[in-house]
Amino acid sequence: MGKLATWCRLKSPWILHINAGGCNGCDIEILAALTPRYDVERFGILLKPSPRHADVMVIAGVMTRQIAERVKRIYEQMPEPKFVVAVGACALTGGVFQNCYGQAMRVDQVIPVDVYVPGCPPKPEAIIDGVVKLLGKVGGGGSQ
């Protein structure tokens, strides 16, 4: 049964997209990855609006003071097992917004992150590569 569940997860991971206070650059590249030119749907990946339906959280942005608590709550609403892909320089280190007073902390100080995709903004190819790497990790047992 566990094997079947992992196989299902591998063949069709549903993602939840969150902007944690970024400039939108990463967000539109994530959306671009879903559209015909890049088409991540061929990996069975679907964008879902509700955290309760999602397996993977794709998060971009600097994690501002105001959003940090909300992101934590949204993460807690996702069912187990859950995975996080952090997209963009801001989510990784704060990027160009380091030391701005609005930045609370890095994404991985708020929620555990499985895959980091660097770039400002990363190209859709890089985001797809990150998600595919995550799928490899899920097949090997995952981090949860």
Partner: protein, 387 residues
């Protein structure tokens, strides 16, 4: 009358940015709406004061990833005005070309998202497929798809060659054909008509009194466009039309954007045909002289204003930015009021909201219709991480 509160956001399916709206409902109808902005507030204005003018170019174009060229353009223009600096004519034309490419990509992006909100996913996928063509041209000219650092103090960062020009022209020709098809879809398709005609009415008088800008005010029939009214870069030498529609609804605002894409294609083709020779960049001093300057450009979403105070030295003393979405959010509340819940996403998206632009240090009190600024310390105490 008792009303029900419906809370949308901060994480919600309609828009991909965190923002919260509290709708007060009477059955299916929206009586009032209270936006709660500020989830994307990062403190850029303060950070800009701590960095040098050159570093600020890279910070300020990251106010918003979608209209990044407009942000860097208005910033470099304001600093150049402060110094009384003239850029080479070729740089002015190249800035215009990239600014218009940015506008096309932004408008196609919004029209696609609108298709998704209508429940018309095919339109979303089609528009975003053709948008990739624009991204290819931007990448070949500037070196990156989105955030490109193309505008620099004193000119532009890269020159274009004949092969890039012919590639861009080919792409524009193809895009013009596709846009004719999309114009037909937006003008005639029954789904679009039923979801957007007569939805989110903004009368010209309220558009003026609420200080709406950009395609929102042009969709209410008021002819105002900074590119024509106060030309900057090379717009003074390039012929184009200012598009207005006078049906005052969401449909008018979408049609303004569709038609503006045609105008932008024309501007790009004209600018590439009449590209002057010469250098693309002049040496700009590191230290800027003392003074104060205001710059404005017509960003894809409307009028974008920068105000910079310099006390001499290599860092600005004060940097202030007024973004178009902040000007339009009151108009959006006016559109939503009195409509149905199902029409809220369409009305809201018709202003092309960009919350990463909008979340500045000005607070809007919608119940009183006032706008005021607050001290950073008060804001941090009020909306700090503890809340």
């Amino acid at each position: 009358m008792t009303t029900t509160d419906l809370i949308i956001g901060p994480q919600h399916p309609a828009l991909h940015e965190p923002e919260r709206f509290v709708l007060k409902l009477d059955g299916e109808y929206v009586v009032d709406v209270v936006p709660r902005i500020g989830y994307v507030h990062r403190g850029i204005e303060k950070a800009a004061e701590l960095r040098s003018y050159i570093q600020d170019v890279y910070l300020i174009e990251r106010i918003c990833g979608i209209c990044n060229v407009s942000h860097s353009l208005v910033y470099v223009q304001t600093v150049e005005a402060l110094q009384g600096f003239e850029i080479p004519p070729r740089a002015a034309y190249l800035r215009t070309v990239v600014h218009e490419l940015n506008r096309i990509h932004s408008h196609l992006l919004l029209l696609g998202v609108v298709g998704e909100l209508f429940g018309f996913d095919t339109l979303f996928m089609y528009l975003w497929r053709d948008r990739e063509l624009v991204m290819d041209v931007v990448e070949s000219i500037t070196g990156n798809r989105l955030i490109s650092a193309f505008n620099v103090l004193g000119g532009v960062a890269r020159d274009v060659g004949p092969s890039q020009i012919s590639e861009a022209k080919r792409a524009m020709e193809y895009l013009r054909g596709r846009m004719k098809f999309y114009k037909k879809v937006f003008a005639e398709d029954p789904t679009v008509e039923k979801r957007s005609k007569g939805v989110g009415i903004l009368k010209p008088s309220s558009a003026l009194s609420l200080c709406a800008v950009g395609p929102v005010i042009r969709g209410s029939g008021i002819k105002t466009d900074l590119r024509a009214d106060d030309p900057y870069a090379a717009y003074g030498e390039i012929p184009f039309n200012v598009i207005t529609y006078d049906t005052n609804d969401s449909w008018a605002r979408f049609m303004v954007r569709v038609d503006e894409v045609f105008e932008s294609i024309g501007i790009i083709e004209y600018a590439l045909d009449h590209l002057p020779d010469g250098p693309i960049r002049a040496r700009f001093p590191r230290r800027v002289r003392e003074g104060e300057a205001v710059g404005r450009v017509e960003a894809p979403r409307g009028e974008l204003i920068n105000h910079i105070i310099s006390k001499g030295g290599d860092k600005p003393y004060r940097f202030k930015c007024r973004t178009p979405t902040l000007a339009n959010i009151l108009a959006a509340c006016e559109m939503i009021r009195g409509g149905q819940i199902a029409d809220v996403p369409v009305s809201l998206s018709s202003i092309d909201p960009c919350f990463s632009c909008e979340d500045r240090l000005a607070i809007i009190d919608v119940s009183k219709g006032e706008r005021y600024s607050a001290r950073i310390r008060d804001l941090m105490a009020k909306y700090g991480a503890s809340r």
